[in-house]
Symmetry: C2
Subunit: 231 residues, 2 copies
DNA sequence: AATTTTAATATGTAGGACATAAGTATTTAA
DNA sequence: TTAAATACTTATGTCCTACATATTAAAATT
């Protein structure tokens, strides 16, 4: 008899720790039972009994769910399910020095994609007041443009404001955590920012242009970033 | 003397547990020391000593970092830093029944934004082979379009393929976790999918059209979703 | 020198003990 | 009788000790 492809026939030994398994089981349990935020969960001792693990292991798993914002616990009252913070745990690990290069590149592209897709929501939600504030940022920038140190700050301020204008808090937070990554990947460049289309140009497009014109402007504004993308 | 605004003067009592603090301290420590993936970390006992907490508390914090993929541990060898999975923890909590409505809406918009921003990368990376596969999906859809049950599957297949064509694994995974949310928000609708621009139209735009034409087509394809966005 | 055996060590798991906060029941005082 | 003070109960938070287990390092054997 032939031996054949071993790692198809033999299941890889699971290096899973018990806390890992308990975590999975708890997540399954919460979803299967379709608990809603506010619902009370079983007590620790009941869970240890049901799962057949020590309180220690259980608490390591619960600690994870607590980090995800999935559960909240109070003394004596026990645990309740709560609405998780979907970005919270992502924020913790957003460090360009820790994340691998492929993912960094992916994130870079992700941000460009978002930036190009913003026009639709932006034109739906833009207000006169917001545009004025954006213009102020762009003008401030022009005044102090000589100083290299300020350039990054202005970049951040301007694009940050744009995301804020979408009224989408999640989008805003998301872009905020992408910033350090973006900064890390472009900080060595000495490319004069903006290219053909400056921030001020974008403001004007936002004021008087169409959605498509704005998008086209944004594309040209980001052109030198797109240039760097690999096929 | 005036009392004034209390909750500015008096710091809110921190309900933070020790595991929370240890987690923060560890994250700070890892970033400050600028450890790189592969570097060995101090042993549990050294950390308990340095932090002045029990091994139990420390392990609850470590358990979280382990979930984030930030650290890996092996018996006897200790712990090493590793490249975290930035989406992993997000995937765990992506459940439309648990996430609050505002965030759900945010996510919905986030996906639309991505979809509108895809054209640039798509036109950079599209290959003949991919387009053929996409066309196949679109044609298959046309053949079985009568059955309501298949509609969602086709939606998923088609748009999933598009994301895959970007060659961006993170983007792909991201869209994949957004799917259930999207599905949850639109499942009650009986709007005939596609509107003016069908999947097959999009394929043709991808084949012979320009980047901007494709984007315009995508916009019209998604038009009835955009219609639902609130100002 | 190569191989086997033994020892050492760091993490994984278990279980007991007590602290603490927050409800609940009971007693006390007006 | 009711309000306030007190004692009790309970579930989580923290600490500690002990031992299992895997894996590397050292020692012993051939």
């Amino acid at each position: 008899m032939e031996i054949g492809n071993l790692h198809i026939d033999i299941e890889k030994v699971s290096h899973k720790t018990m806390a890992d398994e308990v975590e999975t089981k708890l997540l399954e349990y919460l979803k299967r039972k379709s608990f809603k935020p506010g619902d009370a969960l079983p007590k620790e001792m009941e869970l240890t009994a049901a799962l057949g693990v020590s309180r220690n292991v259980l608490r390591e798993a619960l600690s994870r769910l607590r980090m995800l914002g999935l559960i909240e616990t109070k003394k004596r009252r026990g645990m309740v399910l709560s609405s998780p913070d979907i970005l919270g745990s992502m924020e913790r690990v957003m460090d360009p020095l820790i994340i691998d290069d492929t993912t960094l590149q992916d994130i870079f592209e992700l941000r460009l994609t978002l930036e190009m897709g913003l026009a639709d929501i932006l034109f739906l939600r833009k207000t006169k007041k917001d545009i004025e504030e954006l213009e102020k940022i762009a003008l401030q920038e022009k005044a102090t443009r000589t100083k290299q140190n300020f350039r990054i700050k202005h970049e951040v301020d301007f694009h940050g404001k744009i995301y804020q204008m979408t009224g989408n808090r999640t989008l805003q937070r998301f872009q905020n955590m992408l910033l350090p990554i973006f900064g890390h990947l472009v900080n060595e460049e000495k490319v004069p920012i903006g290219g053909k289309v400056s921030h001020l140009d974008l403001v004007n497009l936002l004021k008087t242009g169409t959605r498509e014109q704005f998008r086209q402007g944004m594309r040209e504004h980001l052109e030198h970033h797109f240039q760097k993308l690999k096929k």
